[in-house]
Symmetry: C5
Subunit: 354 residues, 5 copies
Amino acid sequence: MKNKSRSYRNKIGLPPGSLVYIGEERKEKVTISEIDFSSDHCKEIDLKKVTECNSWDNPDSVTMLSVIGIHNMGVIEESGKHFSLDPMILEDIVNSQSRPKLEEYDEYIFFPLNILGLDLISNEITTERISLLLAKNGVISFQENEIQIFNPLIERIRNGKGLVRKRKSDYFFYRLIDIIVDNYFLVIEHLADRIEELEKKILQESNEGAHEEIYDLKRKIGFVKRTISPLRECISNAKKSEGELLSESAQNYFKDIYDHIINQIDTLDSQRETINDYLNLYMSSMSNKMNEVMKVLTIFASIFIPLTFIAGVYGMNFEIMPELEWKYGYFVTWGAMLLVVILLLIYFKRKKWL
Amino acid sequence: MKNKSRSYRNKIGLPPGSLVYIGEERKEKVTISEIDFSSDHCKEIDLKKVTECNSWDNPDSVTMLSVIGIHNMGVIEESGKHFSLDPMILEDIVNSQSRPKLEEYDEYIFFPLNILGLDLISNEITTERISLLLAKNGVISFQENEIQIFNPLIERIRNGKGLVRKRKSDYFFYRLIDIIVDNYFLVIEHLADRIEELEKKILQESNEGAHEEIYDLKRKIGFVKRTISPLRECISNAKKSEGELLSESAQNYFKDIYDHIINQIDTLDSQRETINDYLNLYMSSMSNKMNEVMKVLTIFASIFIPLTFIAGVYGMNFEIMPELEWKYGYFVTWGAMLLVVILLLIYFKRKKWL
Amino acid sequence: MKNKSRSYRNKIGLPPGSLVYIGEERKEKVTISEIDFSSDHCKEIDLKKVTECNSWDNPDSVTMLSVIGIHNMGVIEESGKHFSLDPMILEDIVNSQSRPKLEEYDEYIFFPLNILGLDLISNEITTERISLLLAKNGVISFQENEIQIFNPLIERIRNGKGLVRKRKSDYFFYRLIDIIVDNYFLVIEHLADRIEELEKKILQESNEGAHEEIYDLKRKIGFVKRTISPLRECISNAKKSEGELLSESAQNYFKDIYDHIINQIDTLDSQRETINDYLNLYMSSMSNKMNEVMKVLTIFASIFIPLTFIAGVYGMNFEIMPELEWKYGYFVTWGAMLLVVILLLIYFKRKKWL
Amino acid sequence: MKNKSRSYRNKIGLPPGSLVYIGEERKEKVTISEIDFSSDHCKEIDLKKVTECNSWDNPDSVTMLSVIGIHNMGVIEESGKHFSLDPMILEDIVNSQSRPKLEEYDEYIFFPLNILGLDLISNEITTERISLLLAKNGVISFQENEIQIFNPLIERIRNGKGLVRKRKSDYFFYRLIDIIVDNYFLVIEHLADRIEELEKKILQESNEGAHEEIYDLKRKIGFVKRTISPLRECISNAKKSEGELLSESAQNYFKDIYDHIINQIDTLDSQRETINDYLNLYMSSMSNKMNEVMKVLTIFASIFIPLTFIAGVYGMNFEIMPELEWKYGYFVTWGAMLLVVILLLIYFKRKKWL
Amino acid sequence: MKNKSRSYRNKIGLPPGSLVYIGEERKEKVTISEIDFSSDHCKEIDLKKVTECNSWDNPDSVTMLSVIGIHNMGVIEESGKHFSLDPMILEDIVNSQSRPKLEEYDEYIFFPLNILGLDLISNEITTERISLLLAKNGVISFQENEIQIFNPLIERIRNGKGLVRKRKSDYFFYRLIDIIVDNYFLVIEHLADRIEELEKKILQESNEGAHEEIYDLKRKIGFVKRTISPLRECISNAKKSEGELLSESAQNYFKDIYDHIINQIDTLDSQRETINDYLNLYMSSMSNKMNEVMKVLTIFASIFIPLTFIAGVYGMNFEIMPELEWKYGYFVTWGAMLLVVILLLIYFKRKKWL
């Protein structure tokens, strides 16, 4: 959730299509891997260059090309040339801050989007950019790191399970997006868990740190919402795409993803509402506590200050103070003080302060 | 109102159409019952398997098939095969968390929605998923439990009363939805009752627990609103459906349901507004109380602290303190103290604090 | 402004078109009256049954039929049969809680709406349901009570004044609605008067009861807004109706009503804004008062507590306390105390607390 | 800014087109003046009756007819007859409360709108209704008072300067509206000046009267916004009018007015935002002051109350109190008290209260 | 960020197209410079008058004409005549307060917009108006000052680098706008930096000046948002322009700018949300501090006031006070006082105030 947008600074004044990596600094080497499969074969190769990819033009198999590391401009440019991609696409691939969008070109559907994850140690939400390119014979993915959440799908392809081996690249493309969107649920459920814990805390009136937690959750819900909501339009476009790259059956599957995204946005909206309610509850419980503190002070002060005054009066050293010589003066004074206490207690009782 | 969405966790990475039950864990056996009726007959049968249903293909009678228990994937899959349902429909049937929607297929109208109820012991609002499937010759309902609110309608069918025996499956479908929507009024009226009680409480300034109640009502109004509002679009679609499954007269009836839903959403909006006003009123009454507490403290302290000071002065032990030897010194001091009290009382009176 | 919607309870499970009266319980007998007029005659008759109405089918005169009392299902059903009304219309007529709407049927325009009034004793806003039915030869009105605000119009008809005698039923229909909408201004002006009084109160800082008044006004403005705002759509539909029941000239008149409703909604929105400003002003004036109370306390306590301490010191009974034996010890002490007071007063003056 | 809408009361029950003046009571005589000009002549005449206007039908000159005083129903009715105006137009002319709108009739464009001004003595915003009627050969304006802001334009016409003498009535109509809209900037700039002064006040933390000023500005900004915003739609309609009254070049000029209105609405929105920020700043500065008051009280009380207690202890009169007989008891006590003060000062310092 | 709109005052009553400079007063001389380039040449000339520009009509080169200084009406009028610009364009050029808009004329595209910058000394955001005019053979820019941010582009043109020398004027036009929009990121990142610093401050609870900073940031975010958001519509229009001035490839580039603007508006919205959260956090931390202050006061007062009372009692001078004569009276009293302290400490501990 770091605001990395400041690297935009480096881009000002450069011509369009200038490839400037925008994101956290990275030094890792770029790795390129290829999976090529059809209903009767599946092979995996690690490539040195994207130009080594031979199976791409084969219309009978689906090829998945993963370029891991978008900070190496050379590799990106090479890919651009090899697959004749629009320079604008390349610019968006290396800008990990750009807004998710689904753009249909004649030969490609370009879909950069974000994968959300949880850093289990810091409890922070992590975000990773992946740019998917759907072509007739395969899918190219440009990503910052290796993406673990695709592993079960890759495993199924290796083992020949499921439909994916039997279908075209558009189905595979759908499956990748489906996994990414399903994965958002994990983050949303993590937030739900924390909201539930917060609720317990607040209902037990142990407000220690509650406000910071409320504020942290607000920020995170807002962040997740901002990450997911641009997808609504993207998927909606995919659903009714008129190009040839997405078959009708794939479009049907996108309806399902669309439902998930609407569901997620709904949940996030309701979480935000809940958090705002908690903020209110917290503020009013603070106010309540203040009231209680003030009541205690008022009761103590209002009872003992008059008593102290009475004691003060008979501590005066006037030569002539008749009461001082009375036999039961001291005891009468005690009685008077007791009376004052009782009257005040009744008064506070009536005001319902006790 | 439990957030059960976390079972989504189990679905990530599975191919589409994978049936994973999402909802509370259940162990009950699935029961399947059938009612078949036309204007001149009505028979009820308990089935072991959906495939036993013989009357389904009979165009002269309306068949209602209730599958109670959506946690058994076997039964759902069997139904899917027997009635040739889209895998996406099956996935939605077993996902009790999905958003209500009305989808028109060639052979079916699929309408998953939620039934709201009241748990009279815990005062909680309960929610149950029911998925209705309207076909040419009947209605299939997939539900979590037996649904009591349909009983009066079933009874009328048994006794041959009313229009439902004389009409087609679309009328029966309408009647089921009408009952579900009418039932929402019960929950909304329950909320209205609680808001009225809350109003009394707040106007009597007995705020004990008022904030928790306000917060609880806010949460519940929001929950009911979120449950009902997706239906607006669904019913609106039904109203203007262009398929053959809903006859024109049935569409007319859906206008009536549409009016009810708009009415319910209006009522919930106005309830939310009222609750927010109460929250404000509550906050300001807390502020008022604080003010009163502070006034009492200020008046007591401001009167007695100066008096105590005067008493303190004549409690000093200086050898030469002329006043101490005056004959009426003690009484003059009392007089002075009385004067101070009177002046302060006038001062507070002027400030309208008394 | 009572929430009467709870009678919906009785309707659940009944078939559509079941007539269940929804509203306050009433026992009065239903009365039916008829006015029939054309440019050259005007006759008034009290009917026992709606079927007695003979002039209805006469295309040369306009007939106004008023059915007062919608709690008698028999009369409503009879009307339904006699004038062949859709069962859905009848259901809406007896449901005084339903949302205003304008529905065009082939033979009728059905327009249920609410009349607002003022109960001058309790200062409450009253609401009455009236359902107007425009037909080719007349208007039928179903209402809960006799409606006084139509009297001037009726009088003009009796006396043969104005256009209404010369025109068709659609003009008469327009005139009835115009009167109802104009009447809303009365209620809005009543609210404006109360807001003005409230302003005076708040500016004079006499906040006694101000918050309850603010809250009451908020509630009432919201209620009136909710009553009026559905009419915007209704009248807008009437304005551009394509049926034959509303002539073009009548549609022109509806433009005028539309302007009035927009004006009313604008006024109510601005009143709501004003009320929210007052709420803010009130809250901040409470805060101001609190500040003042605290300042008085702080000044009193900060001045006299140190003085009391000084007096306390010389009230100690140590055997060796040199100051006590000084000749001017007592007077020096007084001087010291005076100095403390002056310094503190300067301090508070600098802080602008005095 | 007085709410004059209550005069609506008098209209209820009257037929449409009934002329009832709605606005402040006025007694002045109605004056009617005419300016007739073309590229080669310009004459001004004061008329007694609108029927005296001869140049109206002359297609070669532009005639401006100003009717000052809309409270005289006779003159308005006469104008209506003479120029054959729709009764609805007349009703809107005399209702100075109606919402600005631009209505196109076959022969006229009717445009009632409000002129804003500043009463320099009371600092209040004044509003005046003007109803403009554009016809083929001239413009009729119905207004409450003489309108000073048109004088420069009239002067230019007299002197034959500028384009207006050379163009048709639609250009003149545009120029009148342009002047009215430009004049709104004066009021908006007055508000901007007051907001700037308020800012200075608040930043110097001299909050005396700040809240009343905030509230007054909020109210005025809202009022100006409500006056201007209906014009957006009106001018937008004029811009794309399809009638023959507005030539294409005039429509182009209306684009310019449209830009001004959008600019004004933007400015008002940003002013409202600023005012809300000031309100917040004010509230938080009040809270800050309260905090400071409480700190002073707490520091004084916390330091001197323990000291007073110590002094009180050695003021007790027990026969056996060893310390009293110690030689340095008194001085040790002073030392102890000093120690308490120092410790407390360190404590408060650490809490950053000092 | 000064509100300069008050100079509108001078315009009222003037005919349309009257050139009145609206902006800060300036005295500098107007300078005019020309760059003319094609793929094989590039020359720069400083002109005295716009009429001296010879290369403008040459269809084979792109001419950039910069008029620096829009406060000299003579130069503007001359330009208007020489390039036959609409008077409305001229009026907008000299009004540096007008709203950005993109207007397509037959021969020109007119696009006045604002450049944002940072005054590094005062930390204020500066704004400068530039009006771009795209023609077939070149671009004219009217600006208040020389604009530094174009220098890298000019340098590239001089050196013959990049595409711009090879393309038409529309590409050059796009590049200018791209630079301006990219430059907005600098300001947004400056705001992001300040928000981050503010966060640190608030989390360390050192609220000194935090509120002023919050308020200043709110104001600035609002200002930047208002500056950028009208461009959304402008660029969207450019993207789908149907005129001949923007070639299809240029329109494609505008899509990229559009994405940037959406991204910027998103970021500003999220910044505003964050700032509001900080305001909340700040307010609640103030409330927390108040609570703490009150607790300290209450604890001190509640402990020592009763003790002082006890001491006061045995400071009374009654002749008969049995306790005073007890041998261990003094010590028993100390014990009692200790007991009171312990009980109160337990009480406060239980309330979790310690």
